[in-house]
Amino acid sequence: MATMTRFGRSTGALAREVMTILVTILGLLVVTFLIARVMPVDPVLAVVGDNARPDVYEKARLDMGLDKPLVIQFWLYISKVFQGDFGKSVLTSNLVIDDIRRVFPATLELATLGTLIGITLGIPLGVLAATKQGRWPDHIARFVGLFGYSIPIFWLGLMGLLLFYAKLGWVGGPGRIDVAYQDFVTPMTGILLLDCALQGEWDAFWNAASHLVLPSSVLGLFSTAYISRMTRSFMITELQQHYVITARVKGLSEMRVVWGHALRNAIVPLLTVIALSYANLLEGSVLTETVFAWPGLGRYITNSLLQSDMNAVLGGTIVVGTVFVGINLLSDVLARTFDPRAR
């Protein structure tokens, strides 16, 4: 019985959460809709071209529903968006949703690897900084944190290319893979490393990896800065708790107290931090992809923007915003699942 009520309460909270998120996404759509309506670019001209005859122009305007009241237009807009129809990209003349589906895996690959780097470096660094406060691991963590919060990501990317690609030749240059290997692999998942591995093209795999390592390390530094800073502060809180004293009194080794007991309790808030960091990397990839000529969503948005291709820009914005919201929901659900106190 007790478990039943607890379960019921937790689904109630989850339902509220989902409601909140639906409202947020609706708000997101209102904002993008308003942006699309106040923009100085004439959406009809963008479709029919500058030299269209008046009757063609008028027909296109009616087709796009621009003669209807704003509320109706908004309704048409969101019903299209929920079907995944963001209109046509003027630049590529594909459906925006198809374009996004094509470029999104590249961004996902980059952001995922960046986050993995952030987790593997950031958590140990944060734990060490918390256990050795005021000593050198703490100073390193502080330095990495300040560094990560103060460096323009695009500049770091450029300097990385200059040093590791041009001067030292340790990594591949801009792009996802050398032109020579481009036709070796047929896209399956869109995640190039996976595709190469699945098709057994190991030369292509290593080439793609050499292109991936620098941009993902750049993103990884920012992720490390954030994750280590938060890990440090969570661990400092945990290490002051009574159960840590109990564990020490029972004679557990310091290793087990710190890594087994304290860190385990810090994992739940860390999940939220990792999710946030992942979402931030999706954003950070806008600039990183520009520097590394990485054919992902960020570069798609900026390229479209520079060409005033509004359908593509707004479609991309909605997708990034929705993923952002989705990741936040996911982290809440995870926290609820693993932490009984949050139920």
Binding site: V23, I35, S150, F154, M159, V286, L287, T290, L305, G321
Partner: protein
């Protein structure tokens, strides 16, 4: 000097002014004992001085082109080298401090009051007002900042004023959150009840008694945020959506050095260092300020 210190550190201040000055003095002393915060403060002060005196200390005109002197490496005549149009990079960086400062000051001046107002209203009234305002805040928080700023610039067109508007549009929600959290605690304090019993209006309570209490947190948040604002502005400039040429904006300068990065590295390297240094200054100072002003 010693009488001044005695006046400032007095246990029994004779006036409100003395108490306030005494508090400032104690905060300054604790800030002074933090070397990192002091470093940050020095960087910020240097930024202000350079911005004020840029035309006097810059060795060359930041905009005049000199095509005989294209892409010269760093030397005694041009400490940071010259760019593709033969302009002295050091002079451009020095003048660029003004653009950075203008952007930061304008964004903060527009974002701080708006966030403060929305946050205190939501926190003070609670209920439906709170729900509505926080829902709007959440929507803006849900957008990745740079992407939203990009969308706004797309509508408004590139340029320094529009970059400021776009950044301001995306930067206010955290301030509202902070102010709301503070207000929710303050509104139940006894002194607020006392003021209310004296017949003060809601507006008066918010403006005179709630807002001043929220200010320290908002100021800390602002200082910590300035580095982020600088980086976002530089990002927009880098993408060609911020300050337009020939203005010596640091992000745009890095973008112009991109095509020469492998042979003439100095064109992109030095403006980036300038951004790092200034952002670091604000981060260090903000951290120190948080320790001083924000006990919790």
């Amino acid at each position: 000097m010693s009488t001044l210190r005695a006046y400032l550190t007095s246990e029994r201040p004779a006036s409100r002014g003395q108490a306030r000055l005494g508090q400032y003095y104690r905060q300054w002393r604790s800030l002074r004992s933090n070397p990192l915060a002091l470093t940050g403060l020095i960087i910020i002060l240097a930024l202000l001085v350079i911005a004020a005196l840029a035309p006097q200390i810059a060795p060359y005109n930041p905009i005049a082109q000199n095509l005989d002197q294209r892409l010269l490496p760093p030397s005694a005549a041009h400490w940071f080298g010259t760019d593709a149009l033969g302009r002295d990079i050091l002079s451009r960086i020095l003048h660029g401090t003004r653009i950075t400062l203008v952007i930061v000051v304008l964004v903060v001046m527009s974002v701080g009051p708006v966030g403060l107002l929305i946050g205190t209203l939501a926190g003070y009234f609670g209920g439906p007002v709170d729900t509505l305002l926080m829902r709007v805040t959440d929507v803006f928080m849900a957008f990745p900042r740079l992407v939203l700023a990009l969308a706004f610039v797309a509508v408004l067109g590139p340029g320094i004023e529009n970059a400021v508007i776009a950044i301001a549009f995306t930067a206010w929600p955290p301030y509202a959150r902070v102010a709301r959290a503070e207000t929710m605690v303050i509104r139940n304090a006894d002194y607020i009840a006392a003021v209310r019993l004296q017949g003060a209006s809601n507006l008066r309570i918010i403006l005179r008694h709630v807002v001043p209490m929220c200010l320290p947190s908002v100021i800390v948040r602002t200082t910590l945020d300035m580095a982020g604002i600088i980086l976002t502005a530089a990002g927009l400039g880098f993408l060609g959506l911020g300050a337009q040429p020939p203005l010596p904006e640091w992000g745009a300068m890095i973008a112009s050095g991109r095509e020469f990065i492998f042979d003439q590295w100095w064109v992109a390297a030095f403006p980036g260092m300038a951004i790092c240094l200034v952002a670091l200054g604000f981060n260090l100072f903000g951290d120190g300020l948080r320790d001083v002003l924000d006990a919790h």
